[in-house]
Symmetry: C2
Subunit: 431 residues, 2 copies
């Protein structure tokens, strides 16, 4: 990748010229949320850029859509489709590269540069998309297996359907928040001592509050109700990816989830990272997922064996006293189902997807103990202490704990990363 003239782009920045992720910001000069991209330690304000007289020339793919970056969400841009995302990303990369053919627009234009290139520390990030529906899958094979062993033993760890279809459930879109939003510990019905009092719930704050390391995928192009998306076409329906922390209250979950699935254990909050990494930017990092030996139904056959991405994923836990421990290091290659497979399955019966819909991968764990994507797994069902710096320990989250998920691909200088997905636990509100 070519170099950029933008100052202060560290070779270790997740936002290299090879990335160009899109987000929604408000800035000191413009408090109404609008679009930007991240580059190094700055954002490039795309609403400011839109007002330049040469905008139409530099972004020919946005002909007729000049207002798209002034909108408060990325839905309008996403709806324009993959070819436009690709072209716009290319135009931005050209504009920001050292050898840009339009130096007069930004590189050598101190006035516009001062307005459009803003330090990340001085902008506020907003939810990037208006999310119609949110679906959470269960595609992390090692997570499904480990949790299954806990509940049903190794012989019956995976349900019979697990390797035949990407199991998923509908989540709660209203509960999705952008990184940095505090997460209030939920109260709920829990069994304080399931063994002694198997059927006697108490209403109390969750004592087994957990995180889940996931990858999220935003839909760009909708499909009509009644019209399945073929797996060969599914990739063209994807806008881009975010990190996702699907906070989970395990004690609420175990009491409520039979027979219709998780509900209040999940719907209090899910956190996403603020920058949407375009599908295009992850193309170089394709790899083979977890092998599935079960013969697949036709509609799930991809015809390629590099359908998932090798994104390095890490989880940090910061205690209220400020000690930070990296409690997990894994990769998104530990998925057994790809997002195109999830889309093909989700729409098989005709379910309509809309621009801005979010799909979660499910918790991503590797096979090794240090690669677990949830505290439930790390603590072996809440039975074992997870050691932290400062001689502290956890089995589940305490009030004041901060969980940060990070995700990055690529080599120094060409890093493609997500920006942190952060949430701090607030004490429950009773009432």
């Amino acid at each position: 990748m070519e170099s950029t003239w933008v100052p202060d782009v560290s070779p270790e920045s997740p936002f290299s010229l090879a990335n160009i992720p899109f987000g929604i910001v408000s800035t000191p000069d413009d408090p109404s949320p609008h679009a930007a991209i991240a580059i190094g330690s700055h954002v490039l304000d795309l609403k400011v850029i839109s007002s330049h007289p040469k905008f139409a020339e530099i972004f020919p793919s946005l002909n007729g859509h000049h207002g798209v970056f002034s909108q408060p969400t990325l839905n309008g841009f996403a709806a324009l489709g993959r070819s436009v995302h690709r072209a716009v990303r290319g135009s931005i990369q050209e504009l920001l590269s050292t050898g840009t053919s339009h130096p007069e627009v930004l590189k050598d234009n101190g006035e516009l540069r001062g307005k459009a290139l803003i330090p990340q520390g001085s902008v506020k990030m907003h939810l990037p998309m208006s999310i119609g529906d949110y679906t959470d899958f269960y595609a992390g094979y090692h997570h499904a297996y480990a949790v299954g062993v806990m509940f049903r033993g190794p012989q019956n760890a995976l349900q019979p359907n697990y390797t035949h279809l990407p199991v998923g459930y509908h989540g709660r879109s209203s509960s999705i928040v952008v990184s940095g939003t505090p997460v209030r510990r939920p109260q709920g019905q829990i069994l304080l001592d399931p063994a002694a009092d198997p059927g006697k719930p108490t209403t109390a704050p969750s004592r087994r509050l957990d995180m889940e390391l996931e990858l999220g995928c935003f839909i760009a192009t909708p499909n009509e109700q009644g019209s399945p998306v073929k797996i060969q076409d599914a990739e063209q329906h994807i806008f881009g990816y975010v990190l996702l922390n699907d906070w989970s209250a395990r004690d609420i979950q175990s009491w409520e989830y039979v027979p219709l699935g998780p509900f209040n254990s999940k719907n209090f909050a899910s956190t996403i990272s603020p920058w949407v990494v375009l599908a295009e930017a992850l193309e170089p990092f394709r790899t083979r997922g977890v092998e599935n030996e079960t013969p697949l139904q036709e509609y799930l056959k991809e015809g390629r064996d590099d359908a998932v991405f090798d994104i390095e994923l890490e989880v940090d836990l910061e205690t209220p006293s400020g000690d930070v421990t990296t409690i997990s290091a894994t990769s998104s290659r530990h998925l057994m189902w790809s997002f195109p497979q999830m889309i093909a399955h989700h729409t098989l019966g005709g379910c309509p997807m809309r621009t801005g819909d979010l799909l979660g991968s499910g918790t991503i764990s590797g096979p090794e103990p240090k690669q677990r994507g949830s505290l439930l797994e790390m603590s072996e069902g809440g039975k074992k202490d997870i050691m932290l710096y400062g001689m502290d320990v956890r089995r589940f989250l305490k009030d004041g704990d901060t969980v940060t998920i990070r995700g990055i691909c690529g080599k120094s200088g060409d890093r493609v990363g997500f920006g942190d997905c952060v949430g701090r636990i607030q004490a429950a509100r009773l009432g």
Copy 2:
């Protein structure tokens, strides 16, 4: 209730002066969707009424919100809250009553009457609300029990949590359609012969396509994330009610639903009736629900024993040859959990509800064979023929079948009803 001057209001009409349900229409003169109410065999176009010079005087509660009936959904009106809904309904009832104090506005104003009172047959109904999230509960006690007996026998029919909390799951809001929209039979993974081939799915059109008779409830007033709605306040968050047919593919459901709940078996379509009956209009029809002997958690205690409504509900099945059989006649009093209890439970952990969110009651069945709300129950798990007129039989739905749900309360002349909730099954689209 006073009489109305509106012509052709049959005493049997579900849309008496005691009702005044709200909907979204497009009309021959105005194709952009906007608000109306139903009265007898007409609609009253509220966008047309809004332009009358005396609108502000007649609708003082809408001060500052004169454009609310020109919007393409009822969300703006719903968000104004219960006291405004009550006042606006009262103003409309006054305007349409024989003794109206404003006869010059509509009753004696032939020109406006011609524009504003439109035969229902010449308007098109649209989805009344923009639905952010859709949640489906399982509050119909006799349905949960009957289905439980089928799967687990009478000793374990109800799960241990059933009488402690209103069990529910997140549905798919993008799949909700307005009455009259055709419903395409979904294809999906099914086990053609579960006994012979327990783990070998086939991809095929559902052979066990079912309907579910439900009541739907729209949220008016949102709650902030992290702030539960107290049960005493829950009623004030409700906008109104619709009939809901939660179409279900039983063969897809039985294979996919473990462990995360129903997914493709439900997300292809759910149909709602077009008119939202305001919570206010159902107040006279309160009654006691199914008794729950389990001691309730504080947050679910209502302090009243008339928390559900006695709405007469019927299901008609029309075969492709045109024979119509009423296959079920039941009442919404067969719910064990009320909508305020569902709202209190749904928000207990802090889940935010937004204006326009939809809650389904779950299938409503009575204790008697003729009172079942699904074909699964009527056919005893698909084992017994349901007899129809014309010597036809069903266990599940055939292509070309039309299912109509009707709901009505009150006496002749003062009927409060919903208008039909209709869907016709189209053949599956393969691919």
